[in-house]
Amino acid sequence: MSVASARYRERFCKRRVSDSEWATLPRPRSSTRITSSALITMRSLLLAVLAAYVVAAIHAVLAFLNKRRTLQRVSDWSAAAGFLLHTAALIADWAIYGHYPLFYLRETLSFLAWTLVASYALVVYRYRARPLGSFTLPLVSLLIFLAIIIRPPIQDSAEKSVLSASWLFPVHTTLLFFAYAAFFVVFLASIMYLLQERELKLKTFSAIFHRLPSLTTVNEIATSSAAIGLTLLTVGIATGMVWASSRDGRLWHNDPKEIFAALTWILYLLLILYRSTARWRGRRAAWMGVAGFGLVLFTFFGARLMGGYHVFG
């Protein structure tokens, strides 16, 4: 035992403690060790993330409306900076609280925002479909804002120790969050498809028509994101089942979140089957992409209100 930790023991127990006695004492919870300076660092980091995303969002919207390349560049760079800071913030969160940062609502919102930015980056990389950013980035900013104003929770160690015990917790949740992000991309691409298809049929074009990616592009984005989302959802649900059975031997608990997740899974499976029977399904597939996202939202937020086995976001 080092001197430093002896001093720490003394401060913690407010008296001198011998090595043998210390060994018998209950371990101090990680939560009690979180210093206020760490919390302030976390908070300012998140504020910096928010600032970067807000700048990115504003510039993305302006670039979308005005078609200025310089604005788009500002948006790209600040989104990239925000994403790096955000990644750092998540890692810091993990290090400080000692559990995977996907437990409390505050953390889930922040993590969800992170997956949204990551998938936006992928879509831009693959399809150059930057208009997506003018919808994604404002939402991301809002999520981070909420994550900041929601107060850090009082640590519930018992619950946490259960959740952080298994490596399946991070895998299960991360997969599902990326699936949600993918479905959000499907949703946006479907909306863009429907808007443009309608205008092409009516032959009257609004100002934003010319700024949206082509029908083929949004169709491809929707198709491939739906496939990726469904894969992630499948593996995510599977790991959840494995984890549940390792805890209490049951695969299924009939909890609302499970039921809605199953419905979501079926809907996206149908969507993909429907699309693959004929290569291009256009309108109806797009409507399914929109409806599917409604179900995702309900799975994510709605089921929470009904309570059940899944206690967290």
């Binding site: 032959k203 010319h210 256009g282």
Partner: protein
């Protein structure tokens, strides 16, 4: 030093006047040499297109310039002045710069935002360069005008949306298919408009063009020209399956493409979208085709109405472009003021001579009485000394000005404490 622009355009003069004033390339080069006399007109440029004839000059004597250009345009009174004089507009300095900037940015074009005029000005400039009539000021002005045009094009949507039927096919095609590379176009009927559209499509990357015409000779001729394939008109239904873009322009008085044909083609295409353009009157494509999902049909009226809304959109963007032009005029004039070293040279000379005179006045008493001749000799000594010292300085300044090196000129000004 003044910049003057005199000319006519499609708004100020009818075609009868414009065509008489227009210059051929040869007339332009020889004309430039007679126009630029080095005295009244020091630099010159002639822009002559079907929509405008404009003479842009840099002059040392503003008062005589307009008359000189009018005389020049009349081909030494070969054309009676009364014939065109009332149609002429004339801009000086600020106004002339604005006019040129607006022309190159295609704000002054018949269809706002059409980019051809930029190429025409570029051509006019290279002819002036060849003739040696584009000097320090015009070089700077024309290059600045090109820069303005580029800025307007990239920062506003002035040239964004198609405003001709033939180009509409490309634009809508891209909206549906993203890229036209690897797509197939089918021309039904070999009319002139269809041909023009097909050319645009090929330029935009369409890889295969099929031509179907009732009589085969025109289809084959066009196929050779476009590098396409002439196909049998009777096999239209099967070709519809291959075609992503169909342009229909036959003289038939019935529907050449029926709803049933389009539906069958679509299902054989496994629902891949197809895009039909019907530029024939009466229509050749059943309007009901447009109701089929994943099939988009535009007839001539649809295209016209999209075009007119695109033109309105361009005009809205033109307002933003005007703001850019205004700010660029200010920048240009500032740059010009810096480069205009006439006043600087004068001020520098005066300053040096003043110093010499002042020193002379201070030391004059010590010299005692001098003869008039000696007095003159001392004076001449001072003047020539000052001139000898300032000569390399001034010639360096002139060189910097010719090289448009504003920084060096400003440095000279700062060293001697001269105002601009």
């Amino acid at each position: 030093m003044s910049i003057v622009l005199v000319g006519v355009n499609h708004k100020s003069a009818p075609i009868e006047v414009r065509e008489r004033l227009a210059f051929t390339d040869e007339a332009c080069s020889t004309g430039l040499r007679t126009l630029v006399d080095g005295e009244i007109v020091r630099e010159g440029l002639i822009v002559s297109t079907c929509n405008r004839v404009e003479v842009l000059v840099e002059t040392g004597r503003l008062a005589d310039t307009t008359d000189r250009i009018t005389q020049f345009l009349s081909r030494s009174d070969y054309l009676p002045r009364a014939f065109f004089e009332t149609h002429l507009y004339q801009h000086t300095d600020h106004e002339a710069v604005r006019h040129l900037f607006r022309v190159t940015s295609s704000l002054d074009s018949m269809v706002v935002g059409e980019p051809q005029v930029l190429g025409q000005v570029r051509r006019a400039y290279s002819m002036a360069l060849e003739a040696g009539t584009a000097g320090r000021i015009l070089n700077r002005l024309v290059h600045h005008a090109f820069r303005v045009a580029k800025r307007v094009r990239s920062e506003t949507g002035i040239g964004a949306n198609a405003v001709s039927i033939s180009y509409m096919a490309v634009e809508l095609g891209k909206k549906i298919f993203n890229s036209l590379a690897g797509r197939t176009a089918l021309l039904v009927g070999a009319g002139e408009m269809a041909e023009l559209s097909a050319r645009h499509l090929v330029n935009a990357g369409v890889s295969r063009v099929l031509l179907a015409n009732r009589t085969e000779a025109p289809a084959e001729r066009l196929a050779r020209e476009l590098g396409g394939e002439a196909v049998k008109f009777d096999l239209l239904p099967s070709h519809l399956v291959e075609a992503d873009i169909v342009i229909c322009s036959t003289a038939a008085d019935h529907y050449v493409i029926t709803e049933q044909m389009a539906r069958q083609a679509l299902s054989k295409r496994r629902n891949r979208p197809s895009f039909f353009i019907d530029i024939s009157v009466p229509r050749n494509i059943d309007p009901a085709v447009g109701k089929i999902p994943n099939v988009f049909v535009f007839d001539i009226d649809d295209l016209e109405s999209v075009i007119s809304s695109n033109i309105r959109e361009r005009e809205r963007e033109a307002e933003r472009a005007e703001l850019i032009v205004e700010s660029e005029i200010m920048q240009f004039q500032q740059a010009l003021r810096v480069l205009d070293i006439g006043p600087t040279i004068g001020a520098l000379r005066n300053k040096l001579h003043d110093i010499a005179r002042l020193e002379m006045a201070r030391q004059r008493n010590r010299l005692g009485p001098l003869t008039a001749e000696q007095e003159k000799a001392v004076e001449a000594l001072l003047v020539s000394t000052v001139n000898k010292i300032s000569h390399p300085l001034l010639s360096h300044m002139r060189r910097s000005s010719d090289a448009s090196d504003a920084e060096t000129i400003q440095a000279w000004r700062d060293i001697f404490g001269l105002e601009e």
